[in-house]
């Protein structure tokens, strides 16, 4: 979307986190967070705040700065601390119009709860999985929400609001190394709330195949044997050869109507 004058001065905050490359496991900019920054940059290039809670020395933060963000705000906190508490404190003092986040973090618990908890604490509406912000007029934003199977839904929401950005949003621009190294980090201290729920968790690398809750329904050995050896029944469909082309087309059309794919 080309930035228009109505959104240029809008205060937008994009929350960023440290991502993890799925193959190498190396730290990187998280994909959805980068899209949140991209969306923020395209809406309000002059008044976008990029905010991170955590370790300010983390090099991956610079990758966000390389997208053309002059400054990155960091609320210094240990990795184990609860980010929502620090964020709420911060936003109570400087409240923006829109807060953008990713849907799920790529490290940690990645429960995707941060935007919801934040919205609840602030008393703001929360729009999940947005693909784009179409327009903002008179304090009401028109937002496109991404639905499964590439579908979109229009949502109207009044400012201020929290939104999580889906992977269907416009792709993040490339990160340039020079600007990334030059960017300033403004580090603030914040109230730290220890997250004591996660203290007793143990983490292990994910097993390839999670164990299913298997319920054995077969009661006798014969039934179990049958279930294990049964071949899937090859259902051959209806074949139309001799009918006229008109009838064939009608049959296809009826099936399409039945499956509700023609709207």
């Amino acid at each position: 979307m080309p930035p228009d004058s109505s959104t240029q001065s809008l205060a937008i905050v994009s929350l960023i986190s440290i991502g993890k490359h799925p193959q190498s496991g190396r730290e990187r900019r998280a994909d959805q967070d980068a899209r949140a920054v991209e969306l923020g940059l395209s809406l309000s290039p002059n008044n976008l705040t990029v905010l991170h809670v955590g370790d300010a020395k983390q090099q991956a933060l610079r990758q966000y700065a390389g997208m053309g963000v002059g400054e990155i705000h960091v609320l210094e906190a240990p990795v184990q601390a609860d980010a929502v508490a620090s964020l709420t404190d911060y936003f109570q003092e400087n409240a923006p119009s829109i807060i953008l986040t990713g849907v799920r973090a790529e490290s940690g618990e990645s429960s995707g709860m941060v935007p919801y908890l934040l919205a609840e604490k602030m008393g703001w509406p929360m729009v999940s999985r947005i693909a784009n912000i179409v327009s903002i007029q008179e304090g009401v934003a028109e937002v496109l929400q991404a639905l499964p199977r590439g579908q979109r839904r229009v949502i109207k929401v009044s400012l201020p609001f929290v939104a999580s950005v889906d992977s269907a949003a416009p792709e993040a621009r490339q990160s340039a190394f020079g600007p990334a190294s030059r960017a300033a980090l403004s580090i603030q201290t914040c109230a730290i709330e220890k997250d004591d729920v996660s203290e007793n968790w143990t983490e292990t690398p994910a097993r390839k195949r999670p164990k299913r809750l298997k319920i054995i329904k077969a009661k006798t050995a014969a039934e179990r044997f049958k279930a294990a050896t049964a071949k899937p029944q090859g259902e051959s469909g209806k074949v139309m050869v001799k009918e006229s082309n008109q009838e064939k087309a009608e049959e296809i059309f009826n099936l399409l109507i039945e499956e509700k794919v023609i709207r």
């Binding site: 790529e106 087309a249 794919v261």
Partner: protein
Amino acid sequence: MDTQTTISRGAGGSVDITRKTPRVLLLAEECADQIDETRHEALAIALDSVGQITRQIHDGGRVEVDPNAIPLAEAEFILSAGNGIHNWDQFHLVAKALGATEGASRVAVDDGFMPRFRQVGATGTWVTARVYIAVGISGAVQHMQGIGQCDKVIAINTDAGCDMVKRAALSTIGDSEAILEHLLVLVHNYKEQQAIEEDNQDAA
């Protein structure tokens, strides 16, 4: 998972977290098989109080999406073309009328009729469409792999013995151009009728 501990998956699916079982859980898809054999009933419960909710989000409904803008792997309804297509203009017209995402077999892509990202199959995209219409595709093994997850396959082909016909829920044997022509007319009639009905509803 049991009553004491739960294993959940975190960090984008790369870490298993063992933790105490909370009171509310969201289950991953791989957690268990679907329920069959038993029937369940949903009952309405009366709440003592319902919190006041002010509506802040207005749902504007679905928007029309250009079917060709949907990624092929996600598309719900695909009209796919193979070597048996000779009238490409007609094919595009039908896809547009049906509102289907366009796909193609390897041959059609190699011959330059369709772009590479439209290719369905092992070397192209693995599709998950609910309804897949294969026009003039006989069904090479690689192509059948690509449509493995499709629910309803409709084949239009001249060869009644080909693999696609064996896989399809509905097969029509004959000239694809003639069948698509009739289909096009049917869709146009249907849409016109719908438009008239909508007008009537608006008037009423």
